[in-house]
């Protein structure tokens, strides 16, 4: 704060009474370059939070402006671009009790400005304006305007409709041209034809002084279909921006040691082979390489699904993505580019995606049937009436009526409306839907394949043999574990606290990275750590730590992965619906069998590599199964891409999240089953709406063919059917 006073704006009496309410003008140093920082604020929810966050930030030196977006739970800060500026902003917010996390501004850039959505909204605005005015004029015609008055109204309608259609229906014309050039007939072709023919016939009728024109039908059609387009776009854009935010939460930085010994923080992309990188405990290893200095244990569960930490010493090879558990490591970067594990997985994903055939959505399949039929019907009507009455002007009118009546408003609006309602409900259940086709695919599944580590389990170990432990060993272990951040030590400390064990007075505690911890208890050495270091025979196939007091026999502490909340219920829900469940893990047999037994999964595979996971899914597909894959690790990414449809938790690695079709936020697994139920219901609604559209045509097409559809009837039928499918879609949003 500068302490300078600024005159209160006199226009607002409340501000004079409450001096705190004043906002001081920007105080950013004029010389420092300004930069935009984006911070995620997961907990803000009210007006007081907005004001609090903005006031706190604007009181921070160097900040020019701060603007909270409550809908996105984000704040955009414009501040002087100094080193550590972002950390200072976060610290300032934390001091006031606002939890903030840095977001990678570059990763957000793509989803920030929604140019396409804005463009569609502008077109909707123009179409809505035009259809209101044209409808007013049309009502006058229908209520009996004749002669010169009718001609005036028609000319006015033409003057409004022509430019409005040219602007608003442009997306349909462009899409229709693209699909015609590709030799396809999709929904945009009959839409564009209907709009163009309706306008053309109306203009010619107006010039000839005819009795009826279809201007309002043409512009209303455009409006309804644009709304459908916009809903579809919104659904996609919302999920994309949420996914972009997840990616942006991971700030990819590493600490590099320069040749002169100075440490610098650099983006991971800037690392080169031969660079020396420091990885403190608790961080992930940024590159594939070799340990130069330090001993530690590494957790590879995100890479291979193995839960047993691996001890490393100088000379050991390490992979990017492993988590460093106990001691700081200096790593020499080796493989970069094509040789890294990540790159190999990326290649596997590409292959899997190529072999997955493009899925045709229900709307696309309906359109493929519908589009040629509609065009043929209109042509037949034109030829039959023209040849039968020799009145080609009447024939053109009837063909236009047929096109307008059959125009797939139901389809164009029905499917996006259902998807919007469904994705809103998914969002409330904690699920991000990346595209609409995935929802339809999810409704068809008959097999679920789960990964173990990080998916069915949280990846956090829990001590399971508390009842069998001698109290002395447990108390000593609790004392040694208290000082360590190692996950197994944390599990022992938590279990001891829960069991009410008082830690023994162990002194001289020292942590031996990669081995364990040791201390003194009444003249005896106590050790907690790996089997070999403590002096026990290692038992393969399970995660364990050993405690030895003096020369007594070591005691084994056995750990298991903690199950995610609702894992058992989720599997039971799939079972109950006759969906078969498989467990496919990269971990060793013991833990996999234990988890499978606890959850009652008979069909499990252990020691699966990324390649065997993909092969397993391809076998299932060859058997005609439709598989839902749920996984989180890098070793699951290719399998996620190969499955019919896939879900990954928000805690998954980047590659898996982008390969998955749906993302589950939060710790619970319950949304997996919930999203499947929503998908089944959404598919039923889509089918209902398509059936309704066809039924509606069965009734109205003969009427149009018989020449009984006046512009008034067309307008009523069109808005009536659009309303019906929207209401049906919105019923989906009502559930829980």
């Amino acid at each position: 704060m500068t302490g300078a006073t600024f005159p209160a704006p006199l226009v607002c009496p409340a501000c004079v009474l409450a001096p705190d309410a004043r906002v001081e003008p920007s105080r950013a140093p004029a010389d420092a370059p300004l930069r935009r920082f984006d911070l995620s604020l997961p907990a803000i929810h009210c007006a007081a939070c907005i004001a609090g966050v903005e006031r706190t930030l604007e009181a921070t030196p160097g900040v020019a402006a701060a603007r909270v977006n409550l809908g996105l739970r984000r704040v955009a800060v414009t501040a002087a671009d100094a080193p550590g500026a972002e950390a200072r902003l976060i610290a300032a917010l934390a001091a006031r009790g606002y939890d903030a996390r840095p977001l990678d501004s570059a990763a957000l850039e793509a989803s920030r400005t929604d140019a396409a959505g804005r463009d569609l909204l502008a077109r909707i605005g123009v179409a809505a304006f035009a259809s209101m005015n044209v409808m007013l004029l049309s009502v006058a015609v229908w209520s009996g305007a004749t002669d010169s008055a009718r001609a005036l109204f028609h000319w006015l309608s033409a003057a409004i409709t022509l430019p409005a259609v040219a602007f608003s229906a442009w997306p349909f014309f462009r899409a229709a041209a693209t699909s015609l050039r590709a030799g396809r007939l999709d929904m945009d072709v009959p839409i564009s034809t209907a709009i163009l023919i309706a306008v053309a016939v109306s203009v010619s009728e107006t010039m000839l002084g005819g009795r009826q024109a279809f201007f309002e039908a043409a512009i209303m059609l455009t409006l309804f279909l644009l709304v459908g387009r916009y809903l579809a776009h919104r659904t996609r854009a919302a999920a994309r921006s949420a996914a972009a935010e997840l990616a942006a939460l991971e700030v990819h930085m590493a600490t590099r040691v320069r040749a002169d010994g100075v440490h610098e923080t650099v983006p991971i992309d800037a690392l080169r082979a031969g660079d020396l990188v420091i990885v403190p405990p608790g961080c992930r290893i940024p590159v594939d390489g070799v340990v130069v200095i330090g001993r530690s244990e590494l957790d590879a569960s995100l890479l291979s699904g193995e839960t047993m930490p691996e001890a490393v010493a100088p000379g050991a090879a390490v992979r990017a993505g492993m988590a460093n558990l106990s001691g700081p490591l200096h790593i020499r970067a080796e493989a970069l580019g094509a040789d890294t594990l990540l790159h190999q997985v990326t290649r596997l994903i590409e292959n899997a995606e190529r072999s997955r055939t493009r899925y045709a959505t229900l709307a696309e399949r309906a359109a493929r049937l519908y589009a040629p039929l509609v065009l043929a019907l209109a042509l037949v009507a034109f030829v039959v009436w023209g040849a039968g009455t020799d009145d080609w002007r009447l024939a053109a009118n009837i063909a236009a009526a047929v096109l307008i009546i059959t125009c797939p408003c139901g389809l164009g609006l029905a499917v996006p409306a259902v998807l919007t309602a469904a994705s809103g409900r998914l969002y409330r259940a904690g699920v991000l839907l990346k595209d609409g086709a995935a929802l339809e695919k999810l409704a068809e599944i008959d097999t679920v394949v789960f990964d173990k580590t990080g998916t069915l389990t949280t990846g956090r170990p829990v001590l399971v043999n508390v009842a069998d432990l001698p109290p002395a060993a447990f108390a000593a272990a609790a004392a040694l574990a208290q000082t360590s951040a190692h996950p197994l030590a944390r599990a022992i400390a938590e279990a001891a606290a829960a069991a009410g064990i008082v830690a023994s007075p162990v002194t001289d505690i020292a942590e031996h990275p990669g081995m364990g911890a040791a201390g003194r208890l009444g003249g005896q050495v106590v050790r907690l750590g790996r089997a070999g270091w403590v002096g026990a025979a290692a038992v393969l196939d399970r995660t364990a730590a050993w405690v030895a007091i003096g020369h007594a026999d070591p005691v084994e502490f056995i750990f298991e992965d903690e199950l995610r909340p609702d894992a058992a219920e989720t599997i039971a829900a799939f079972r109950a619906a006759n969906v078969s469940v498989t467990l496919l893990s990269g971990d060793v047999d013991g833990p996999v069998a234990a988890i499978a037994a606890r959850l009652g999964i008979a069909d499990w595979v252990a020691r699966a590599t990324p390649q065997t996971k993909v092969a397993h899914l391809e076998t299932l597909r060859a058997q005609g199964r439709r598989v839902l894959m749920v996984g989180d690790g890098l070793n699951d990414a290719a399998a996620l891409a190969a499955a019919h449809v896939s879900i990954s938790p928000a805690s998954a690695v980047d590659a898996s999240r982008s390969a998955a079709d749906l993302i589950v936020t939060g710790a619970s697994l319950a949304p997996v089953a919930a999203s499947w139920r929503i998908a089944v219901e959404a598919r039923r609604r889509i089918l209902q709406n398509i059936a309704f559209a066809f039924a509606y045509n069965l009734v109205t097409v003969p009427l149009a063919f018989a020449g009984l559809v006046t512009p008034l009837v067309a307008a009523l039928a069109m808005s009536g059917s659009s309303l019906a499918v929207c209401v049906n879609a919105l019923r989906l949003g009502q559930g829980r």
């Binding site: 607002c12 935009r36 007081a48 006031r55 603007r67 977006n69 414009t78 502008a122 007013l136 409004i160």
Partner: protein
């Protein structure tokens, strides 16, 4: 019927004003955070120029 000469332009102009206002709102980012704008009315901050250049961060 002469009243139409007045009424039709009036209806078009009023509708056109609505359309212009909508396009202006769209262009000045007023649909970016409807939820936040709705709660800002409760704030006691002097916030008279919500989306203008002064507060908008550079792209």
């Amino acid at each position: 019927m002469n009243v139409l000469i007045v009424l039709i332009p009036v209806s078009l102009i009023l509708g056109g004003l609505g359309l212009a206002a909508f396009l202006w709102m769209l262009r000045t980012d007023q649909y970016d955070d409807p939820e936040g704008q709705a709660t800002r009315v409760l704030s006691d901050r002097y916030d008279h120029r919500p989306a203008e250049e002064q507060r908008r961060p550079p792209p």
